[in-house]
Amino acid sequence: MPSQDEITHEVIIVGAGLAGSWAAMTAAQEGVKDVAVLSKIHPLRSHSSAAQGGIAAALNNVRPVADTGPRGPLEQIPPGDEPVDSWELHMFDTIKGSDWLGDQDSIEIMVKAAPEIIYTYEHMGCVFSRTPDGRIAQRRFGGHSAPRANYSADYTGHVLLHTIHEQALRHGVNFYSEWYCLDLNVEDGVCKGIVALEVLTGKLHTLRAKAVMFATGGYGRAFRITSNAYANTGDGVAIAYDAGVPLMDMEFVQFHPTGLYRHGILMSEACRGEGGYLTNKDGERFMERYAPDKMELAPRDLVSRSEQTEIDEGRGIGPDGLGIHLDMRHLGREKILQRLPQIRDLAIEFVGADPIDEPVPIQPTAHYSMGGIPTNADGQVLANADGDPLVGFYAAGECACVSVHGANRLGTNSLLEASVFGQRAGRTIANFIQDGAKLQPLSGNPGERNQQHLRALLDRPGKENVEDIAQELKSTMTDNCGIFRDAGRMAAALEKIGALQERFKAAKVMDKSSRFNTDLLAALETSHLLTFSEVIVAGAQARTESRGAHSRTDYPKRDDENWLKHTVAHKGEPSEPPILSYKPVFIDWERYPPQERKY
């Protein structure tokens, strides 16, 4: 590999999705002159673009038509009429959706900031679907008690990402496209920079900054059936963990109920928000038995568990019985073409089913990572369960855990979280720099260390196939730490992960060239999958209760007395398990005390 060099910036942000781009733009707006964003893929390829259904805010543009029931049509609210929604309601829905594990102070910040952020997107030129009188259109979504999903047909994330990227460009943000972050430099509780690989040339660079932020996204690729892009390998999460930063609530992985059968590709919750049904092989709308009130619009963890139960009990569809039907025929041709065009194309292209004419086969798919790098509501990364912030290190978006989603996320809240906390982190960073933060000297030679690591990876003869190791990991995570978990299977998963980590030491990188070596990247990404998967299973195994997306057949009840707390995991000694500690949840006992979670 060619030799390294050193680059400095005021701020370096890793990840160019919504969170990273908002932070970059905000920092630039607040006067930080030298903002750099690294992304291992071109910024517009970030997975934020895959979000479909909408972004939540209590704008009160739309309400259900009177006396038409919970699946009836919606109409715009005439000016002066009673609002049907409020930030308080949004807050309650989010808290309940999180199964009371969300930090309520952060949730309050997020929902209060929601309308402003949507209007800002719109003022920045984002193309939304509209009501007849020109306001932003809203639809129903799972777990929300009012229609507050602001949408752009069924490609909301796509329009939001393009809009914020354009604005970041307008504000002079430097984008390092196709630069892969390898390592985080944290010394004595202070973050000093990163080491990155320039994919084009294979050259290593040591980047120093006064502030570093990770906005690296989620980690769904640890599972076999996932809605996530190939790129979502949790690199930031693993790198931070390896650098001594703790990870929080990793065991909470959301399985989205409607991924395309066998592919896992997302079929937006909006399909159900617009009125779609879920049926089993007997044609029964089985959600009646699991969530009689909200039915298909119960929160995702509940619906996925219901689907999985139907499948496990033999009522699934498809040749292997692992699917469920998503029936949208009754929505009618016009509504599907108008509001759900993308998912129709996907259903036709990938499973050969036109939702206008037939039910679409779907199955639960690993979708969102509630866990991640712990931060406070200002985007500062925390060093421990006591909440002490690290100096100069920030995080936002799916890779972070504030926590606003707790044990389960409501749909449309992720686009909101990434935007709100990305913006907040940008402000915090700007203040930090303008208050006189200094560029920290490096004591070791992280560039050299990483160079040797890569050299070792490339040079060793190896006999193991990287993809095979990855596939075995995905299988064990899906089967043994998926929707339903128990002590025995999780123990098997941990053992398997240990064995795979051992085998990975003999993994072979076939491409030895310096130029655009994506084979090397795949190997690095697989090592990251192995790193954080262990943390997921360790946290899940320790948590002897069921809450939100973490569901155990051996501990089926929620246990507030012992488990109303966040899991914090630090990397242990080599070959030792993660060191677990626990952080209290911020709860307003007067306004939102924990309740039973029924839909």
């Binding site: 009188d133 490609y155 307008r170 292209e349």
Partner: protein
């Protein structure tokens, strides 16, 4: 034994080229036994991970929204993640995959898109709003959204740019992708600078350089129509001042409800 839908063995011919090592591009053949629903991207993934790790291409979302995987398959540009392999086999069960044409090759199927992004930046893709910003959203009617002709769906994949004969022969041409984006901003009632935009793109480096060849429409994986957008830009450029005046008028009522059509 159950039929899992597998097909006979196919030959995947891929153009390889590493400028550091090879003198010129060459076609390499791989053999593979796909499933019925194996996409071309799935096939590339299988080859890369189990046969030849050096085979290099861009990809991410695998469901046609990120725009990474645009390539040239059997002479036509497309995304490879949402097309079944079996649909693109010739009579000898072969498929030929090359990088997007007319762009410098970085390695194998990865091309240098610098000129593509430069043109995108050049037309100022961000909205330039008026000075008067309301507290809530600008009002934009569903008809005004429809007038954008789905241009907001564009994923900047480059299939159109790299299929365009004018792009191939003229280094200064703005390109269908950027012209489509410019069209979207020109028609957006919230943009306060349609006149400047039309001046920038209504030139012989822009909308008037298009020769109506239509390759862009054929290539677009999202079914978009850059040619129609370009023709609209041409017509608007001819009536620029009237259009600017109409926009100023429209912007007076951006904060109030749009008239509901009967």
């Amino acid at each position: 034994m159950s039929n899992n839908g597998s097909q006979p063995t196919v030959t995947v011919r891929v153009q390889r080229f590493n400028p550091d090592i090879d003198k010129k591009p060459f076609l390499q053949e791989y053999r593979l036994t796909p499933q019925r629903d194996t996409t071309i991207l799935d096939a590339l993934h299988e080859i890369k991970t189990h046969q030849d790790g050096g085979l290099t291409y861009r990809r991410s979302c695998r469901h046609a929204i990120c725009g990474s995987c645009a390539m040239n398959v059997n002479g036509r540009n497309m995304l490879v993640c949402n097309v079944p392999l079996r649909k693109h086999l010739d009579r000898r069960n072969r498929v030929t995959i090359r990088p997007l044409p007319y762009l410098p090759i970085i390695k194998d199927l990865v091309v240098d898109r610098s000129s593509f992004w430069e043109q995108y930046l050049r037309i100022k893709p961000w909205l330039i709003p008026p000075d008067d910003i309301p507290e809530k959203e600008f009002r934009m009617s569903p008809q005004e959204v429809a007038a954008l002709q789905n241009a907001e769906k564009c994923i900047m994949c480059g299939a159109c740019y790299s299929a365009c004969t004018v792009v191939a022969t003229n280094k200064k041409y703005i390109g269908p992708h950027a012209l489509l984006k410019a069209f979207m901003r020109v028609l957006d009632p919230r943009d306060a600078t349609p006149g400047e935009r039309l001046k920038e793109v209504g030139t012989d480096e822009g909308a008037f350089r298009c020769h109506t060849i239509f390759n862009c429409i054929d290539a677009c994986p999202k079914g978009l129509d850059p040619t129609k957008a370009i023709e609209t830009l041409r017509q608007l450029a001819a009536k620029r001042q009237a259009f600017e005046a109409a926009r100023r008028e429209r912007q007076k009522s951006l904060a109030g409800p749009v008239p509901v059509s009967e």
